[in-house]
């Protein structure tokens, strides 16, 4: 029994990381079967550490990315491109949503013209420890899973960096 205690403690510590990281492979099988072109990015903690060594401090975007990835434990991306509109059904993403429901909170669901963007967050106390962005366009589905500590400032920086203009809001 004494030998089991450390194992149980370790498994309890390992649970939060597993909760933030969704198995994209199995939940997106339906989309993968219909796609014409797929882009896949899998960066675990060790790969992010390696990447940060190669990110330049001189470049504004790369310096921002370096700061952001310091607190991340994983970055997982899937981009599915389709030959024609209607090649996939929105329900193809239900297995993924099924895994998110209950453990993750959906903070935004935006529908505009042909595009739908959902932003899901994983919270641990007051901290955001995971983010999932699901974007559906007629011929493209993008899923991004960020694992690790994400600060609100990081999110604001993300939308105003990497060649993306910042949205100027008027303050009276």
């Amino acid at each position: 029994m004494r030998k089991l205690v450390p194992v149980l403690l370790l498994s309890l510590l390992a649970t939060p990381a597993a909760a933030q990281q969704i198995n994209l492979q199995s939940t997106l099988e339906r989309l993968a079967a219909k796609t014409a072109n797929k882009t896949e990015v899998n960066l675990d903690a060790s790969m992010l550490k390696l990447a940060s060594q190669f990110l330049s401090d001189g470049d504004k975007d790369e310096a921002g990315a370096k700061k952001l990835v310091e607190s991340l434990k994983g970055v997982y991306v899937r981009v599915f491109e389709f030959d024609k509109p209607g090649a996939y059904a929105p329900g193809d993403l239900d297995p993924l949503r099924g895994q998110l429901k209950g453990r993750w909170g959906q903070i935004v669901s935006m529908h505009e013209k042909d595009e739908t963007v959902e932003v899901w967050m994983h919270q641990e106390g007051d901290n955001t420890t995971g983010m999932m962005v699901i974007s559906m366009e007629p011929q493209e589905v993008t899923v991004v899973n960020l694992v690790g500590m994400i600060r609100p400032a990081d999110l604001a920086a993300l939308s105003g960096q990497f060649g993306i203009p910042t949205i100027e809001t008027k303050k009276d």
Binding site: L55, V77, V117, V119
Partner: protein, 106 residues
């Protein structure tokens, strides 16, 4: 016989070598042979090959690590650009909604 002839005869007279002379000559000749071996032997060749192999594999490992690092950097930037682009769309949409709400006539 003139004294010069006597001297010459005495100088050229056969003399027996001291005892152990032949053994000493042979022993020295053996030592000389050993010193004359070529400096570049198979041992040196093997050592040089091992050094070159170790250095080469170290350089190759560094090259592989550099390639993996560059790839990880590119993938990180791609992932963050995609995330940033989608979040930008959301922020813009929310900003538009907020603007429209403010502009609504009372």
């Amino acid at each position: 016989m003139p004294p010069f002839d006597n001297d010459l005869r005495e100088a050229l007279r056969r003399r027996e070598p001291p005892p152990g002379f032949a053994e000493r000559v042979l022993a020295r000749a053996g030592n000389l042979g050993r010193h004359e071996r070529p400096a570049f032997t198979w041992r040196w060749a093997a050592a040089a090959a091992a050094v070159i192999l170790a250095g080469g594999s170290l350089l190759y490992e560094r090259h592989l690590q550099r390639v993996a690092g560059e790839r990880a950097r590119e993938q990180t930037m791609l992932a963050l650009r995609l995330t940033g682009s989608k979040l930008h769309d959301v922020r813009q949409h929310l900003f538009e909604l907020q603007r429209r709400t403010i502009e609504l006539p009372e």
